[in-house]
C-alpha cells in the first residue's frame, strides 16, 4: 500500500484492496509462517469508546504477528476525562508504539490524529464516519463467498449512522457492483456518502422494502437499527420490525445469497437463519484477524 494511514475507504484503490485481501489469504493459508513477522513491533490501542470485538481482533492480530500491544484502557480511567485533547493523547502514544489504532466518537478524529503523528494511524471507527478495516474484512468475506465482480449487494438497516455501511459503499465502487440500500426513510444514507457514490458513477438504488430487491441479491449486508435513533419507543418498534430477517424472509432469495452482519446483532437476524447456508456472519467475524494482520503488516512495512 502506498498509504501511511488507513483513514477512509475512499483512499484505497482496487489494487490496494486486493493487495490486502491477497496477503490476508496468504496468512490464512499458513498462520505459522507469519508468527514472528512483526516481532518487536508495538501497536497502540486507543479506544475512546467501547468496542470489545474490534479491540480484541486488533490485539490478536498484532500478537499473532509476533508483536505486542499497549492499550490506553477504558476511557473513564484515562486523562481524556481530565480534558486532554486527542491531539495530545496520540502524540504521547506515538512515543510508545509503532502504529496506532483509533476508535473515537467524533467524525474526522482519525484524520486529525494522523496529522499529529508520524506512525501509521488506523481508523477503527470515527463516530458515524468510517470503519475501513471492517470493510476490508467484509470484502474478504464477500470475495470468498461471492467474488468481487458482477455483484449485486443489498445493504439494509441504519444507513445514516452506520459507519461500516459508509466504508463498504465507497469501497464497492472500486468493483463492478450494483448497490441497493434498504432502510427506513429517516435512516437513509447521509448526503456526503450519496455524493461520493454519485460522483464515482456507482449504480445505486434506494428502497424501503427488502422484498423489492431480494431476488436479485448476491449479498445482503444487515446492520442494526438502534433505539437511540428514535425519539419514541413505539416508532422504533414499528420501524425496526420491518428490517429484521427471519428464515421465511429469505424464501425468494438466490440459493447462493450470502447474508452478512458486522456483529454484534440484537434481533436483526433471527437465530434460525444461522442454520441456513446463507449465514456468513460468524465467518466474517473470524476473518477479522487475518485481514487485520495483513493490514498491520503492510502499514508497518512502509515504516522500514
Amino acid at each position: 500500500m502506498r498509504q501511511d494511514h488507513l483513514i477512509s475507504a475512499a483512499q484505497l484503490s482496487r489494487d490496494d484492496v486486493e493487495a490486502v485481501l491477497d496477503r490476508a489469504a496468504d496468512i490464512d493459508a499458513d498462520l505459522e509462517a507469519w508468527r514472528q513477522r512483526r516481532a518487536g513491533s508495538v501497536l497502540g490501542l486507543c479506544f475512546f469508546e467501547p468496542s470489545t470485538r474490534t479491540r480484541m481482533s486488533f490485539d490478536t492480530a498484532m500478537k499473532r504477528l509476533g508483536g505486542r500491544t499497549v492499550d490506553m484502557g477504558p476511557v473513564d480511567s484515562t486523562s481524556v476525562k481530565k480534558g486532554e485533547s486527542l491531539a495530545d493523547t496520540v502524540r504521547v502514544v506515538e512515543g510508545y508504539a509503532d502504529a496506532i489504532v483509533l476508535r473515537h466518537p467524533l467524525e474526522g478524529a482519525a484524520k486529525m490524529a494522523a496529522e499529529f503523528v508520524d506512525v501509521p494511524v488506523i481508523n477503527a471507527g470515527d463516530g458515524a464516519g468510517q470503519h475501513p478495516s471492517q470493510t476490508l474484512l467484509d470484502l474478504y468475506t464477500i470475495r470468498e463467498n461471492a467474488g468481487l465482480d458482477d455483484l449485486t449487494v443489498g445493504v439494509m438497516g441504519d444507513l445514516k449512522y452506520g459507519r461500516t455501511v459508509h466504508s463498504l459503499a465507497e469501497m464497492l465502487t472500486n468493483f463492478e457492483s450494483r448497490q441497493h440500500f434498504i432502510s427506513p426513510e429517516s435512516l437513509r444514507l447521509p448526503r456526503s456518502v450519496r455524493y461520493d457514490l454519485h460522483a464515482s458513477g456507482a449504480q445505486v438504488r434506494e428502497h424501503t422494502d427488502l422484498a423489492e430487491v431480494l431476488p436479485e441479491l448476491d449479498v445482503l449486508y444487515v446492520t442494526r437499527i438502534q433505539r437511540e435513533r428514535f425519539p419514541d419507543e413505539n416508532e422504533y418498534r414499528k420501524v425496526a420490525g420491518q428490517y429484521q430477517i427471519g428464515p421465511d424472509d429469505l424464501d425468494g432469495a438466490k440459493d447462493s445469497l450470502t447474508v452478512m452482519h458486522p456483529l454484534p446483532r440484537v434481533d436483526e437476524i433471527a437465530p434460525e437463519v444461522d442454520e441456513t447456508p446463507h449465514a456468513k456472519y460468524f465467518e466474517q467475524a473470524h476473518n477479522a484477524v487475518p485481514v487485520r494482520m495483513a493490514l498491520l503488516d503492510m502499514l508497518l512495512e512502509g515504516d522500514e
Binding site: A87, G108, K111, M112, E115, A128, G129
Partner: protein, 156 residues
C-alpha cells in the same frame, strides 16, 4: 445605471477595498467574513440590491483602510463567484481582480456537523475542499451547499 447614480447610494472611498458584483443579499455575509461589525472603527459603505448590468441585482461593499486576506477572498468566491475586488488608493482603483475558486478554504467556515472533530476542543483549523456547488469538510466529509455557507461562517 450611471456611475453618478451609484455614488448616491455608495460613496467613494480614499484607500481600501471595494467588493463589487456580489450576489444580491450577500453584503452582510461579506461583512461577517471580514469580521466587521462596526466596532473596529473602519468606514464601511454598503449597497444592497443595486441594479447591475451583469447581474440583475447586486450588492457592493466598500471598506475603508482594509485589504483582504487570501482566505477571506477564498470564502468570498464560494458565496459569490461573480464578485470583483478593487483595491483603491487615493480614490483610484489601482488593482481590479475577479475572485477565483480555490481548491480549498481554511478557517473562516465552520463544519455544520456538530459531531465533527473540528468542532471539538482540538488544536485543528477547519478545512474544506471546494466542490462545484459547495464545500466538503476535510475531516468528517460533511457537505456544505453553496446556499448554506453564509450560515456556517466562523466569525468569532
Amino acid at each position: 445605471m450611471s456611475d453618478t447614480n451609484k455614488q448616491l447610494r455608495v460613496s467613494k472611498i480614499r484607500d481600501g477595498t471595494v467588493i463589487d458584483h456580489l450576489a444580491a443579499g450577500q453584503a452582510l455575509n461579506v461583512l461577517a467574513i471580514l469580521g466587521i461589525d462596526g466596532s473596529g472603527g473602519e468606514g464601511v459603505s454598503i449597497g444592497m440590491n443595486v441594479p447591475s448590468d451583469r447581474l440583475a441585482r447586486k450588492d457592493i461593499v466598500k471598506v475603508e483602510g482594509r485589504e483582504l486576506s487570501q482566505s477571506e477572498v477564498d470564502v468570498l468566491s464560494v458565496i459569490s463567484p461573480e464578485a470583483t475586488i478593487n483595491i483603491v488608493r487615493d480614490y483610484e482603483v489601482v488593482e481590479k481582480k475577479r475572485v477565483e475558486r480555490p481548491e480549498e478554504v481554511t478557517g473562516v467556515v465552520s463544519c455544520p456537523n456538530r459531531n465533527c472533530i473540528t468542532n471539538a476542543d482540538e488544536p485543528v483549523v477547519s478545512r474544506f475542499e471546494v466542490l462545484s456547488d459547495g464545500l466538503r469538510c476535510g475531516y468528517c466529509g460533511d457537505i456544505v451547499r453553496e446556499g448554506e455557507v453564509a450560515e456556517n461562517l466562523d466569525v468569532s
